[in-house]
Symmetry: C3
């Protein structure tokens, strides 16, 4: 299945082959896990500390405890692969539940059923009806993907569910029919079941540039439903969204700093359409469990969105409500470590992308409002795709191949390994080149010495020959081939001379 | 030309090579034609009945009559290839007329001049002026394609004309200048002549995904003309289309069932912008002549559109007027047998696509109305392209290569042939595998027998050797290499033993 | 660097390799330059006159003077490559200034710092504040491209600056904050710095079809800024653009012919958002310096735009203001010699494209005005891309590979060389084919003669053999292999016979 998995054009694949060694109980492997785990080892210096730990046999107990702890963490952090492997052998219904939970978390690029469970808890805290619609959406999107025989690995990673949960949730959020308007489940189910169709179609296009489809299917389908029905529809009325013709006067004195700070978790909550700060806080926890880098970038993105809102003179209400944050949250996560390997340059790029996304968010919200539509996550999709299409000359901004994308920490390990491999190859190449040079130099010296010897010898021969010419001129007529014989004799005298056959001078 | 034809990036090509056998007068071939013909043989069971017929020599007269009938049908059904071949050698003006008629029918994916003629009859029944504009549009689009030296096979199939007829027709339909406003012919000719340019440009993009351009050039050019001029333009005023701010109250008692049923042919007529149910009926006949599968899906699509309209609380007037039907008609034809080979799964997919198209139609109509534009056939194009981009793991949903697309019946034959070929190959492969296995098994048996014999022999030898050891212990000092000699002798005794060289045990 | 340059996916590259010979002082080379230069040698007949000049040694002085003049012209015309080579070795700040000036001219596809300087002069004539914003935009776009390590050759050609100057200029033009509203520099710098990001992303997509990005990044970013802030924004208010609901009555008597003629240079000025006819005139001069073909098509495009405006009943004010011209100017330049090699067919295509662009311009302006946006250069981008995606069967419409695009005159030389090369190859091929045929014919004759001889010989042998049979029938029993011996003897008799081994008859 891993082979099949890698060959697919589905977005964020979990590479099932490499991490097999991740959860073996040997301490040495567990140490290797460190960069994947939750403990603030975001910079490359932890690599050194890791090596220090390896070389440090002084505290075996501490070492052991740490190993055990890391092993424990590895069971529920990252993409919970051990659990994923275990559930593969279980009852189908349990598997589908796992896929639904992973789908719920995949909205934030997190492939972790525990995070999904916490996210559902947050949704229930916000609104029962919305949570139910979200669940129905995820479930039917997953079922539809199964019917359409999409890639099983991608379904198991929740990659067909996350558009479903958003479609379900946001259709409930923007419905003007009020809570528990059961008819809504009909278009909800239809639209969720269209998710894999649209996902597959978009993946056919985006895969040409090795790009994920992000939440584009959700954006397309929710906008489709909302604009097809509209506010005045008798069956499925939508909330009234109207373009703003005038902006209220902004006085900086009126600003509420507490609400401004609260807008950061609210912005994260708004990814799922939730305005409850506690729900946002719960989402932050769910992100932290799986991947601290993702969590950090989510908070950063939300803050950038808030600042952008202030800079562009947005009404404070919108900022407090998290409308400036949620797109930046997603864009910042996507660029900051998820699809690029995290370096300082990429970190700065992620922040730039978040600012660009906030700008774009304002623009798209203004345009969409003309049609009575919310901005959805179009700004995130478009800005993230733009920044993923960017090509630069530097190797510090490394876009991971889509099939290798997992979560920021593992992506980093992949990147470091690749770098090490490259470095080793370079070093080896340099070494071999240096050796080559050394050898060439030595050979030259030998060559020179040989040449010297040869010249001396030639001179000696010439002298011998002239002597022979002078002294034995009368013997010449008798012994015609004497010079040759003499030559052989000369050769026999010097050891070095035997080496001086013509092949040495090539 | 067929080779040149297949290599082109033009949408629905007619493969000129394979159907050459279609119209030969031999009865055997005519029987093969059956699945292509008009007589309710849509399911795969007719294949069997066909074979029954072949094996059934009891009713030679009936057989002969049937053959004659099918031969007759083949002259004007399908893509009328015999006629196409004949007209190739005629006067250019006649050829152009053939291309124009085929272009008129190609709007519905029908490559048949007779259908085109009937369609023009329907248009004349609707409105003389519109029919004239449609004719002018088709003509100039074809001429422009000739000037731009586009693929001759594609031009002859009417693939450059169908956008022209729609541009001409719809520009007349949406013009507010009234009938016989002759100035309209100027932009009509300009826009028709732009059709091949836009078609060629879009084909350059779509061919990367092996997709047709559908009616996108028409959509682009008509919207272009309408929005460039607008309702208040002094030269080319357009009809006023305004967004609906409030929907009338719908009371189910008010529904007019007769009109509702009439909306099915009207929906088919609206493909050409005609609201006359008789015109729609004529169009149904023209479809039936060429391809009954196409005809059935057209009616089905129109019905799906009507149902969707009721489900989404559309005003009854719009439904009666066929505005919910025409996109679904085209989408249902395109998916149901035209670009996919028709199976039950594809049939369900076509219905799903029609529902999706209706939804999308409502959405796009609402958006376009903000700009004073009609929905044109954007919903059809977008939904059909989405469903054609879909990739699934099942082989029951088979997308035909664009160069092999002709009409549903012939597509099916192509698909069946491919399937049969695959099956035969699989059977052969299985057979050879089974034989291989059999041989392996036999060899194993022989091997085992040999092994048995070898073991027995070895034992015998050992016994001989021990006897020799026991009896002739005093002779040993004299004959040191006796055991070897004895071994050779032993070999000479058994015939089977000679085969037991080490190579047999590999 | 040239190799690196050609491999890039950046739009209009300057091929640094071929024109090396352009500026050597030998007269023969200078004559070769003629078609590249500014003196009315736009048609292919100058090729002949060129050859006449070469063969004409009568007027050596005139010849010399002409050569000197052309050499002088070559220093500041075209893409000023000598200057570009010289500045490469200068101080970085000077280089950046060169890049900024080239960037300013690249809006019109001109890669010439002198043209850029003149264009800046025109901008200063129009408005100091706008010119400053344009300069800041170009500068920061170039700096951003350097930071993102984009292709150095493309940066040096100003390909990252031209979107920057447009972003800077148009943000100032459409700002409602008035001149010298310094805060505007903040979004100006941010948006200019986003230019290379969006350029690079779009190039990743467009390069699949070997298409340039044109001014799409500018269109995207300026629309983004304008719609994100809007007219009522407190920090960055935009001018109010509203859709026209009614058009004023047009009476042809009111037309002002002088203003209509003036609209041609104004249309060229509007490429940079300038409505001053003198500024437009200055721009025409700057175009003429670099490439007369470009200049001619710019004027032609502006005129076509004006005519289209009149045809589509546009308000005279818009036409006078150059709003119908600037897109056509760019489209006409792009198609007429820049990306296609200029032939008469391409010239007609450029005019068609200009008309299409004018139509599209009206449509896009109407749509964009609903969102309070100007049309920017979207019409130009979309129409030019459409016409560049066009594929035709004729070889008179030749699209240059993107890496070979320089300026119309040099493109023509490239095209002619290619044609000549092709012709030479064809002639050679024909020649070799003719020779092959001749040889085959001769061989056939020889073959026939041989065959004749062989037949005669065989007959002779047969006769000999029958004689031997008849006469020496009694000797047969003694000499059993006599016939063979006789055969050998026969062979010895005829010289031709030795050649008649079976290999000859293959």
């Amino acid at each position: 299945m891993p082979g099949q998995h890698c060959a697919t054009d589905i977005q964020r694949n979990i590479d099932c082959s490499t991490p097999a060694a991740l959860f073996t109980p040997s301490p040495a492997t567990a140490i290797e896990l460190q960069p994947l785990m939750a403990h603030a080892d975001l910079t490359s210096e932890n690599e050194k500390s890791q090596e220090n730990v390896k070389k440090d046999p002084k505290h075996p107990n501490l070492q052991k405890a740490k190993t055990c702890f890391l092993k424990g963490v590895s069971y529920f952090a990252g993409d919970m692969e051990v659990f994923g492997k275990w559930i593969e052998k279980q009852f189908l219904l349990l598997q589908v539940l796992d896929w639904v939970l992973r789908g719920a978390a995949q909205v934030m690029f997190v492939n972790n059923p525990l995070s999904g469970l916490i996210i559902f808890a947050g949704l229930i805290l916000q609104n029962y009806w919305w949570a139910l619609n979200g669940f129905v959406g995820t479930l039917f999107a997953t079922i539809s993907a199964l019917i359409l025989q999409q890639n099983r690995g991608a379904i198991a990673a929740g990659l067909y569910g996350y558009n479903g949960i958003l479609v379900g949730l946001l259709m409930a959020v923007f419905s003007n029919g009020g809570d528990w308007y059961w008819w809504l489940l009909l278009p909800n189910i239809f639209m969720s079941m269209m998710c894999p169709v649209v996902s597959s179609a978009l993946a056919s296009i985006n895969s040409r540039w090795d790009l994920p489809v992000f939440t584009l299917p959700f954006n397309i389908l929710v906008c489709l439903h909302m604009v097809a029905t509209g506010h005045y529809n008798h069956h499925f009325p939508q909330v009234l969204i109207q373009p703003r013709s005038e902006l209220p006067n902004i006085t900086w004195a009126e600003i509420d700093v507490a609400k401004l700070f609260m807008s950061v978790p609210v912005g994260i909550g708004q990814v799922y359409g939730c305005d409850n700060p506690w729900t946002g806080g719960i989402f932050i926890i769910s992100l932290f469990i799986s991947s601290p880098i993702t969590c950090a970038h989510a908070v950063l993105g939300s803050a950038v969105g808030m600042v952008s809102g202030l800079a562009l003179a947005a009404p404070f209400g919108d900022i407090y409500f998290g409308l400036w944050g949620y797109n930046c949250v997603l864009a910042c996560i996507a660029i900051g470590g998820m699809f690029y390997a995290l370096t300082w340059q990429v970190h700065l790029l992620a922040i730039t992308c978040a600012f660009f996304c906030a700008y774009l968010g304002s623009a798209i919200a203004n345009i969409m409002s003309r049609f009575g539509l919310p901005a959805c996550t179009w700004p995130f999709c478009l800005s993230a795709l733009t920044f993923l299409l960017l090509t630069t000359g530097t190797n510090r901004i490394f876009k991971l191949p889509l099939a290798k994308v997992t979560y920021p920490e593992k992506n980093l390990v992949f990147f470091w390994k690749m770098k090490k491999e490259e470095k080793r190859e370079r070093v080896e190449k340099e070494k071999s080149e240096r050796e080559e040079k050394q050898r060439a130099l030595e050979e030259e010296v030998i060559q020179n010495e040989k040449e010297q010897l040869r010249l001396e010898l030639e001179e000696a021969e010439r002298r011998d020959a002239s002597k022979a010419l002078e002294g034995n001129i009368d013997e010449m007529c008798v012994e015609v081939d004497a010079p040759e014989g003499e030559d052989d004799a000369t050769e026999g005298q010097g050891i070095q001379h035997t080496h001086l056959d013509p092949a040495d001078y090539v």
